[in-house]
C-alpha cells in the first residue's frame, strides 16, 4: 500500500466507466454475479430460437431420465422431465419468459411505487393520505387473490400477468419510499436547496431520490425472487403462463409431484432462480457501495491491494 499519499494531495480521478470497472474488479463476488447475469440475459435473448424445438419435443422413452448421464448429448446432462424433454434445454428456453415476467413486474412496480411514494411523502398531507389508503387497500387484499380474480376476468397473457404482479407489489415500494422521503426532506441539505429556490421536482429527483435509491434497489432484487415464485403459483393454479410456454416457476410446480422419485425436475429450475436472485443481490450490494461517495473507498482500496 502506498503510504505517501497525504490527505492534502488530490488524486487524479479517472472517468466514470473506468472507475466502475475497477471497483467491479475489486469485488470478485459482484464480478461473478455480473458475468452470470450477462449469460442469463444472452440465453434469454437467443434461447427460444436456438433450443425451442428441442425443449418441447416429447420422448416418452426417456421419461424422468436421471441427470449426469455424460454419454448423452449435453442437453440431457440435467436429465429429462416427465414427458422426456431435456431439462437443460427447457431451462434455457424458459429464461426468456421468466425474466420478462419478473423483470417487467419488478420494474413496473418499483417505478410506479417509487413515484407515488415520492408524491405521498412530499406533497400535501391530504394527497399523501389518499395514496397511503389506496396502498392499504391493495395490501389488505391477499395478493394472490387479486391476481386470480384479475387474470380470470382478463384472461392470462404475459402482459396481464406482469400488470397483476406489479400491482400487488406497488405498496412495498410506496411505503418504503414515503417513509424515507419523510425523513430526508427534513435534512439540512434539502432545506439548503429550498433556500436556493430549488423547485419541488429538483428537490425530489436531485436531492431525495439519490438517497432513497440504494434502499429501493435492494428491495427490488429481493422482490425479484418473490415475483418469480408468485408467477409459478399462478401458473400452478392454471391462470398464469400456460404450457406449452414455460417458465422456471412453472417447471418447479410441474416437478412437484415427482419430488420423491425424480428430484431433479424441480431442483434445476429452483437452482436457476436461486442463482439469479443471488447474483442480483450481490450486484445490488456492490452497486450500493459503488454509488455512495462516502463508502466508495472500501472498493477502491481493495482494488489497489489486489492489483
Amino acid at each position: 500500500m502506498s503510504v505517501s499519499t497525504s490527505d492534502t494531495t488530490i488524486a487524479h480521478e479517472p472517468s466514470f466507466p473506468i472507475r466502475m470497472a475497477r471497483m467491479l474488479w475489486a469485488d470478485k463476488f459482484a464480478l461473478c454475479a455480473v458475468i452470470f447475469l450477462l449469460v442469463v440475459i444472452v440465453l434469454a435473448l437467443i434461447g427460444p430460437s436456438w433450443l425451442g424445438e428441442l425443449a418441447t419435443k416429447q420422448n416418452l422413452r426417456g421419461r424422468n431420465l436421471a441427470p449426469f448421464d455424460w454419454s448423452r448429448e449435453w442437453v440431457w446432462w440435467m436429465g429429462a422431465d416427465a414427458l422426456g424433454r431435456p431439462l437443460l434445454a427447457r431451462i434455457i428456453v424458459a429464461t426468456q419468459n421468466t425474466l420478462m415476467v419478473a423483470a417487467g413486474a419488478v420494474i413496473l412496480s418499483s417505478v410506479i411505487g417509487t413515484l407515488l411514494g415520492l408524491v405521498a411523502g412530499f406533497s400535501s398531507p391530504r394527497v399523501g393520505q389518499v395514496i397511503m389508503r389506496l396502498a392499504d387497500v391493495i395490501m389488505s387484499f391477499p395478493s394472490l387473490l387479486i391476481a386470480v380474480i384479475v387474470l380470470y376476468l382478463l384472461g392470462s397473457s404475459i402482459l396481464n400477468l406482469v400488470a397483476v404482479l406489479s400491482i400487488t407489489r406497488i405498496p412495498v415500494y410506496l411505503r418504503t419510499t414515503r417513509a424515507e422521503v419523510l425523513e430526508i426532506r427534513e435534512r439540512m441539505f434539502v432545506q439548503a436547496a429550498r433556500v436556493m429556490g430549488a423547485s419541488q421536482n429538483r428537490i425530489l429527483f436531485r436531492h431525495i431520490l439519490p438517497v432513497v435509491f440504494p434502499t429501493l434497489t435492494t428491495l427490488a432484487t429481493l422482490d425479484f425472487a418473490y415475483v418469480m415464485l408468485a408467477e409459478s403459483a399462478l401458473s400452478f393454479l392454471g391462470i398464469g403462463i400456460q404450457p406449452p410456454a414455460i417458465t422456471w416457476g412453472l417447471m418447479i410446480s410441474q416437478g412437484r409431484q415427482y419430488l420423491t422419485n425424480a428430484w431433479w425436475l424441480s431442483f434445476w429450475p429452483g437452482l436457476a432462480i436461486i442463482m439469479t436472485t443471488l447474483s442480483l443481490n450481490l450486484l445490488s450490494n456492490w452497486l450500493r457501495i459503488a454509488l455512495d461517495p462516502v463508502q466508495r473507498w472500501r472498493l477502491e482500496m481493495k482494488g489497489r491491494k489486489n492489483g
Binding site: M1, T5, I10, F189, A192, G197, R202
Partner: protein, 549 residues
Amino acid sequence: MAEHLLEVRNLSVEFHTAAGVVHAVRNISYHLDRGETLAILGESGSGKSVSSAAIMNLIDMPPGRISAGQILLDGKDLLTMPPQARREANGRRIAMIFQDPLSHLNPVYTVGWQIREAMTTHGMPTGQAKSEALRLLTRVGIPDPEGAMGKYPHEFSGGQRQRVMIAMALALRPDLLIADEPTTALDVTVQAEVLALLKELQRETGMGVLIITHDLGVVAEIADRVVVMEKGELVETGTVRDVYKNPTHPYTKKLIGAAPGKGEMHVAQLSGQPLLSVRDVRKRYGSFDALKGVSFDLRAGETMAIVGESGSGKSTLARVLLRLDEPDAGTAQWKGRDLFQLSPSELYKLRRDLQMVFQDPTQSLNPRMTVFQLVSEAWAIHPDILPKRQWRERVAELLVQVGLSAEHMSRYPHQFSGGQRQRIAIARALALEPQLIVCDEAVSALDVSVQAQVIALLDKLRRDMGISFIFIAHDLPVVRDFADYVMVMQKGEVVEMGTVREIFETPREAYTRALLAASLDPDPDGSGRTPGSPSQTCMTNRRAADKRS
C-alpha cells in the same frame, strides 16, 4: 516513582484508509493521578479522542491499529489484557461520558432502567441497583428523581440528559472518568453548571477525570493540567496556568490567540434606509410560542447578531425570514415589499438576494454531490445568472475566494474537514450573489481557530461585497468581533437590543449579564465565575432552561 492511576506511554494509533495509512496518534505519552483533572485540548482531527477511545477499547480494528505503546491502569497494561478482564475494567474502573447524550442514551428504555443496567451487568442485585440509581439521580441534581426514573431520554432537556449520563457513568464508582466534549452541545449557562457538577463529584469521589475538549474556556474552568495536541502529536503539556500564560509551542499560541472576543469592536453607523425591517413577527408551534413579537431593522452592509440559548426562537426567526416556515403574524419589509406576502414566483426571485448558511455543514451539503455540483446548483436553479460554459471557471473563482482551491471541485463533502465544508457552504451561498446572508450558528460546530478563520472570511466578504449578515449564535464572545448590532433573545422575545458596544460594556438586562458571565473565560485567572458556586442569576436560568425540556 509512584504509580499513576492512568499512564499512556508512547501510544501510536493508525488507521488504514483509501488514502493510505493515517497516523491518528503518534507516540504520545501522558499520565493522570487520582483526584486530578487532565484536559486534552485539541481541534478536530488532532487525535484527542483517539487516545481515549484506545483506553476504552472503542477503536474499530480494522481499519484502526494500535501500532505501539502501552496504556497502564494502575500499572497494568490494558492493551495486553485478556478481553474478559478488559471488559471488567470498562465501566467498573473506567467510565465515559459523551458529547451528545441524546444519541448515547437508548431512546426506548427509561432513564432509571438504563442506570440500573450499568450496575446489574456488573453483578449488583436489582433492588440495590434501584436505590443506588435513585441516589445518583438525586446527586446529579435532577429535579423529582423518583419521577425521573420512569421517564425516557427525550423527556429531558440537554443539560439534564448530560446529568443523567454522568449519573450512569458514576454508577459503578469508577476510578477514572473520561469526558469527551461533555458540554459542547449545551447552552453556556448550562455548560457552567455541568462543569461545576463534575468538579464537585470529583472532589467527593477522588476519581481521576480525563476531559477532552476543544474549548480553552472549559480547560481553564475545570482542569489542573493540560495536554495540547495537534495532528496526532502532543505539542505541549503543563499546568493550565503555565500553558495559558507562557505557551511555548506556536500552535498553542495560535490556539490561545484565536479565542474569540478580544478584537476591536465595530462601531455602527446609524444612517441609511433599512434593507430589512421586521415588525412584530409571531410564530406558534401547537401551544408553544416560538416567537412572541420580534421587531428589528437592518441596513445594507450591516451585521445583526442574534444571540440566545436553545429554545430562544432565534433559529425559528431565521427560518421564518427565509420562508422555510410561515409566520403566524407580522411583516418583514424587504426593499419595500413584505417578504411574507410574496407569491411563489416572487419568492423564487428573492432567493437570489437572501441566502443562508447552516449550522452543520456536514448535513447541509448533499453527501452525494461533488463540490462543483453543489456550488453550481445555484445556477442550475437560476439559469439567468450565468451561462453553463462559465460555471467551471466561476466555481473555481468562488472556491479561491473562500480560501479553498479550484482542484477541490471534483471532491465530495466528506473528504473535507468541518471548516472547509463550511467554506463550501459559504461559496454556495455566494454563488447567487446575495445581499443578505443569514448565518444560523454558522461557526458553532467549528474549531476555535477555524471559527476565527471563517469569521474573518465573512468579515472580508462583508467589506468587499457589502453583504449584510444576520448572524445567529448561542455564544456572545463569538459575535463580539463581528457584529454591528446585537439582539439578545430569550423564550421567543427580544430581551435587549443595541450596538455591540452597548451590549458588551453596559448590558442593561439581567439575562444579558448572565449570558456574559456564563461564557467561560479562557484565562485561568480571568474574571469568570468561581467554579462550584454559580451565581444566583445562573441558578434561576438553569431552572428555566431545565424546565423547558
